[in-house]
Structures are given as structure tokens and as C-alpha cells.
Amino acid sequence: MTDSGITADTVAADVEAIALAVPGVRVLYPVGTTGHLASTGARLLGQDEPTRVRSGSGGVEIAIGVDGSHAAPAVVRAVGAAVAPLLGPGAEVRVTVVRIER
């Protein structure tokens, strides 16, 4: 799905939408500055719009809040499975649950 005609922003928007559509995902949080994927230069602090989908080297990283009534491991696996097809082969999706919402 990713080719030269589709920008990183488009992929990011798709990833965000797909992730939010997974049952049990309540919200996407800003991605922290520590992460092993290379940042595209965005920094969390000092930015007006915090990064919710960080992308670089063909992979993406997101941080999610999961509804407490859903088991977090199942939800985060579902997110991984939903997002992976959007990316090229060999690209990595990194999803971290940062909060269990009540």
C-alpha cells in the first residue's frame, strides 16, 4: 500500500484511524521521546501538536490507552495485526499500552 505517491503523513493518519477503530482502544497518546525507531525529527516538548504516530525507516510507533474492561494483551495484538498490513514488508509496528482507562 505504501508507494512513492503516498506521504508519511497519509500513512500516519491511516494508522491512527485504524488503531482507534480496534475495539478496546480508547485513545492515542503522544509518543514518548524514548523509542528505538528513528524519529523524523519531531520532539514531544516544544511542539504544538504532539506526535501520535511516529514513523521512520518504514515503521511506526504508537502509544495507546486501553479500556479497562478489555484485556490489554488482546487489544494490543489486535492493533498490531490491524496496522501491520498498512506498512511495507519488513517494516515494524511498535505499540505500547501507556494507560488502562477507567
Binding site: 514518548g32 514531544l44 516538548l45 486501553v66 479497562g68 484485556a71 490489554a72 494483551p73 494490543v76 495484538r77 498490531g80 495485526a81 496496522v83 501491520a84 515494524e92 509496528v93 511498535r94 505499540v95 505500547t96 499500552v97 501507556v98 494507560r99 488502562i100 477507567r102
Partner: protein, 204 residues
């Protein structure tokens, strides 16, 4: 200052070396701060010194009240100032270590911070209980590693403590089982405090 010194002398209080059998106020002041140890007979046997030390003790005795009055005179927290402060700290997630979750697709995990929040939420199992600090002991970043959980509790007065601890332990275990793949070796609960619940009138 000399008039005041004379006035003091008329009260029987002298703070100069000639009143203190050769000791200085510096020496007495330090002696007071050291709790009068090690004992110094030259000071302890001098009436002039004892009078001066009494005055120093009176001064010291007023300080807590003075400070308490000052604290009471300060206004309550300014909401604008508060919002500024809370905004500055809100960026710090205190995520802690990343706890892996097994998967075929990608690199998945849950933060220690999320797990701690979930452990705290277990206090709902015992109305009135408050969970304080929580700790995960063990290398949580290694899949399948075994972990000991420790938490502080302030228990509600009126509920048998064993009851409180048992229910909390079961609830914490259930939540960790639901939201993580950690192998829990044990859950250590420390009840460090017991508190009264507010009465229904106070709740309003």
C-alpha cells in the same frame, strides 16, 4: 542598644561576656544548638549563663507558634499558579520500564506506569482502602520472567485487616492476569496506616 542592654540587666539578664562569667553568646548559642552536650561545667555552673540559656530557650520555644501563624496567614493556593505548575509536570509520563507482550505482529508492550495505575485501581475491591507506592521487583522487560509485586496500603478503620489485605491481593492478582503476561511470584502488601472514613455528613 546600650539602653536596651541596661533595661535587660535590670531584669537580671545579661548577654555580654562580663555577665556570662567570660563566656560569649556565640559559645552559649552553639551549646544550645548542640543540646548542651557534651556537658560544659563552666557553663552549667554559671548562673549568668543559665539565665542567658533560659532566654535562648524561651526564644526557641516561640518559634513553632510564630511559624504556624505565618503559615496560617499565607493564602490558599492560587488556581492560576496551580494550573501552570500542573501543566509543566503533566508532560512527564513516568512510564517506567516496558513490559513485553507476545505477538506475531510487531513489537508490543505495556508500560510499568500503566500497570501501576491498574494496581492502584484494585483499591476499589475494598471501599475506603488507599493504595500508595507500588513496585514490580524483577526484570519485567524479559518475557516470562517472574516478578514480585509490593504495595503500600492505608486501610479503612473497621474492616479486619486480613480481610482488606486478602481482597486487595486477589483483586491485584486478577488485574495483572488480565492485562499482563507477567509471572507473578507473590504480592506483598504493607498496611502502613489505618484511617477513618469520612462520615456521610462529611462526604457532602
Amino acid at each position: 542598644m546600650t539602653d536596651e542592654r541596661d533595661a535587660l540587666r535590670r531584669e537580671g539578664i545579661g548577654l555580654e561576656p562580663e555577665d556570662l562569667d567570660g563566656q560569649s553568646m556565640e559559645r552559649l548559642s552553639e551549646y544550645l544548638d548542640a543540646g548542651r552536650t557534651p556537658p560544659d561545667p563552666a557553663i552549667d555552673n554559671s548562673p549568668g549563663c543559665q539565665i542567658a540559656l533560659d532566654a535562648l530557650e524561651r526564644l526557641r520555644g516561640l518559634t513553632p507558634r510564630l511559624f504556624a501563624d505565618d503559615v496560617a496567614a499565607e493564602p490558599a493556593v492560587d488556581e492560576g499558579w496551580m494550573a501552570g505548575l500542573m501543566g509543566l509536570i503533566a508532560l512527564d509520563a513516568r512510564a517506567g520500564r516496558r513490559i513485553p507482550i507476545s505477538s506475531e505482529f510487531g513489537d508490543l508492550g505495556i508500560t510499568e506506569g500503566a500497570v501501576r495505575g491498574e494496581i492502584r485501581a484494585a483499591e476499589a475491591a475494598v471501599p475506603g482502602a488507599l493504595i500508595g507506592r507500588t513496585r514490580l521487583h524483577g526484570d519485567v522487560t524479559v518475557p516470562g520472567a517472574s516478578v514480585r509485586v509490593a504495595l503500600d496500603v492505608s486501610a479503612p478503620y473497621g474492616v479486619p485487616i486480613d480481610d482488606t489485605v486478602g481482597r486487595l491481593r486477589a483483586e491485584v492478582w486478577r488485574r495483572l492476569r488480565d492485562h499482563t503476561e507477567l509471572t507473578i511470584e507473590g504480592i506483598d502488601i504493607t498496611v502502613h496506616d489505618i484511617h477513618l472514613l469520612p462520615s456521610p455528613e462529611e462526604e457532602r
